[in-house]
Structure formats: C-alpha cells, structure tokens
C-alpha cells in the first residue's frame, strides 16, 4: 500500500469474522489510517486483494461502500446543520448522550461532542463493517463507555469492527494487528 509515493505497508494479511473485532496498533505513521482507507476502498491497493465473503470486494465499489460505516480522523460535521440533521436516528443520539442537543447547530458543539456525533452517525448507519480511525480522540470516560457499549451491541448483532487506537479499548475477544 502506498501513501503518496511512499510504500507504507506490505505483506499485511488480516481477516475478521461476523461479530469479530480487529484492533490496529502501531506508532504514528506506521500506516494504520492508510490500511483503514485501503479497506474502505478510498485508497488504492498496490498489490493483493480484499475479499468479502469470498468475493473480491473492490470489483463493485459502490456496493462495497454500502457495507461500510466510516469514521476518519476528521468528524465530517457541518457547522451550519443541527445535530438532528446530521443523525436522524434518535436512539443513536441517545446512545451517545446527544439527545439534549438535537436542535442545536453543530457549530456550538465541543470537539468531543462532535466526535460523539460522528460516532452516533456510525451507529445509525446500520452497516455491517465499522472502520474507525482513532474513535476515542477527544472523548471523556463516560463517552468511551457509551461507545464500547455500542460496539458490543453492534458485534452481538453480527457486525464487524476494525479500529485503530492508541488507548486501551474494551473490545472483548478482539484480535490485535501490530503494524
């Protein structure tokens, strides 16, 4: 996998089963984000293949994209839109403790609250594979607890999570890939 002209990762092999979770660990710049972007199909694969249930995933990019809930290092929150306009699913907002702010324009949110909003959007997407890049950046302890509860529920329903993180995340039975 290349990032710009630079070879970042080679010889990476991973798999996640339904209900499984994979934690990517590694120092800054080791290619965790690049790997996530490649799995999402946003960055090109220089060599090798990605399979979904045994079928090459990138053959049909739009349907691959429709399986993925993406959380990048940016929150993709629009200051001019209200919280409820970002995430219409009221339960997802409640799960992340944002129900009180539903009518509030997102420009009034703090950095941590914006992150929670982005996580609520992931939860509301109902997509099977969550790709999360440092999901807990800026979150307080309560919110991390809420987030891990969401993860557990997602996995119990057969969903999958691949996440990069520097902190200890409570994902029972998660495999760890050190880059």
């Amino acid at each position: 996998m290349f990032r710009g002209e630079r070879l970042v990762l080679r010889g990476v092999s991973l798999s996640v089963a339904a209900g499984g979770a994979l934690v990517l660990r590694g120092d800054n710049g080791t290619g965790k984000s690049t790997l996530l972007r490649t799995l999402a199909g946003l960055a090109p694969l220089a060599g090798g293949q990605i399979f979904w249930n045994g079928v090459p995933a990138m053959a049909d990019f739009p349907s691959h994209a429709a399986r993925i809930a993406w959380l990048g290092h940016l929150d993709a929150v629009k200051p001019a839109l209200s919280v409820a306009e970002h995430v219409t699913d009221q339960t997802a907002l409640t799960d992340m403790g944002l129900e009180r702010f539903a009518a509030l324009p997102a420009r009034f949110l703090s950095a941590g609250q914006k992150r929670r909003l982005a996580l609520a959007r992931v939860a509301a997407s109902l997509r099977p594979l969550w790709l999360l890049d440092e999901p807990t950046t800026g979150l307080d302890a309560t919110s991390i607890g809420r987030f891990t509860a969401l993860c557990a529920r997602h996995r119990a329903a057969g969903g999958m999570i691949i996440t990069s993180t520097h902190v200890a995340l409570e994902l029972p039975g998660a495999e760890v890939l050190a880059l």
Partner: protein, 214 residues
C-alpha cells in the same frame, strides 16, 4: 441523490452569503461595463449579450472553490464517496446543487441587468433561453474543474484557467443566438454541448474525486 441535493440546498440556504456574493458580483461586473463603455444606448445594446454572458460565467466561478473544498477539508467527501452512490452520481448531484444555488439565481437576475444594458425587448427571451443551457453547461464543467483542482494549491486560479477556456464554445453560440438572424442553429449547438457535458463531466469529475481522496 435527492437527499444529497436537498442537503446541499439546505447548507446553501443557511450560508446564503455565497449565492448573494455571486449575484452581487454579477451585477457589479455588468455595471462596470456600462460605466466603462459610456451611456451610448446603441453601443450598450450591441455589447449587452456578450457582457451578460461573460459576467454570468465569472460570477458562477465564485462558489466553485467551496463546491468540494469544504467537504474535502472536513472529511465529508470520504463519507459521500462511501455513501454507496457511484462517484459520478455524487458529482452530478453537486453540479445540480451548483446550478440551483448559482445558475438559477443568475438566470433570474440576468433580465434586469440586460434591461439596464439597453438590450432590446425582443432579444430578451433569446438571451435568457441561451443562458439556461449556458449555466447548466457551466455547472457541469465547473464541477469537473472543482474536482480536478481539489487539494491543489491555488485551486481557485487553476479552476478559472480550466473552466473558462472550456466555456468559450458555449459563450460564442450563446451570445450569437441573441443577434443572429436565425438563432435556431446556435441553440442546437448549445444543446449539443450540454448533451456532451451531461454524461462526460460528472464521469470525469467522479474519477477526479476518487483520486483526490487517496
């Protein structure tokens, strides 16, 4: 795609400054010509179609930089490309939104500007009828340029350098339609350019978006 356009319109409505800036620029640009050329009605009337067209193209350039730029910077573009829609549909939705928030208002305000420039009454429908495909073509070509220059330094200048030369054919036929004795030919060419741009520009813009997020 409808939701995407609706979202763009809602954002444009909340941040109305962009549309207003384009409209004010359009009027000022047209007025400057009148001041520069002088008050001779015959001369102004002869210049009016070209001036309105050029001013409209320049004004429509203004919001292009933010068309994808804002989404690129806050990470929304990644989500749009992962929305399950093909990239060219995302580009097409953006082009539609650009036309609805810039092309259509320009079209509405072009008539008073043309009157100010002493365009004869009988020529007005021809000018406006030509501007409809003209602004549509601009939105498509502009979307392509905005996608191509995404992430580049000095994207605004590059965008103008890519878009304006591509608009020359539409400008020639559009301005010609107003004064030609048989305007049908010019309209046929405008229609042909639109038919060419409609599939090609979003396809190319979609590919450019995929490259931009890599």
């Amino acid at each position: 795609m409808k939701t995407l356009i609706a979202r763009e319109l809602r954002l444009a409505l909340r941040q109305g400054a962009d549309t207003v800036a384009a409209l004010v620029f359009f009027i000022i640009c047209g007025t400057m010509f009148a001041f520069g050329v002088g008050p001779d009605p015959a001369l102004l009337a002869a210049l009016a179609p070209g001036v309105v067209w050029v001013a409209a193209l320049l004004a429509a350039l203004l919001p292009l930089e933010k068309l994808f730029g804002a989404d690129f910077e806050d990470g929304t573009l990644d989500l749009l490309l992962l929305s399950g829609l093909p990239a060219y549909i995302v580009a097409l939705a953006k082009a539609c939104a650009h036309w609805l928030t810039t092309g259509l208002p320009l079209l509405l305000i072009a008539a008073p500007l043309a009157v100010m420039l002493r365009l004869p009454n009988h020529a007005m429908p021809l000018l406006l009828a030509g501007l409809v495909p003209g602004t549509l073509i601009f939105s498509l070509v502009g979307t392509l340029a905005a996608a191509l220059t995404l992430g580049a330094r000095r994207a605004g200048v590059l965008m103008a350098l890519i878009t304006l030369p591509l608009m020359i054919p539409a400008l020639i036929f559009g301005a010609n339609a107003v004064i030609a004795p048989h305007p049908l030919g010019a309209f046929a060419f405008l229609g042909a350019i639109f038919c060419l741009a409609l599939p090609l520009a979003p396809l190319a813009a979609g590919a450019a978006l995929r490259v931009a997020v890599e």
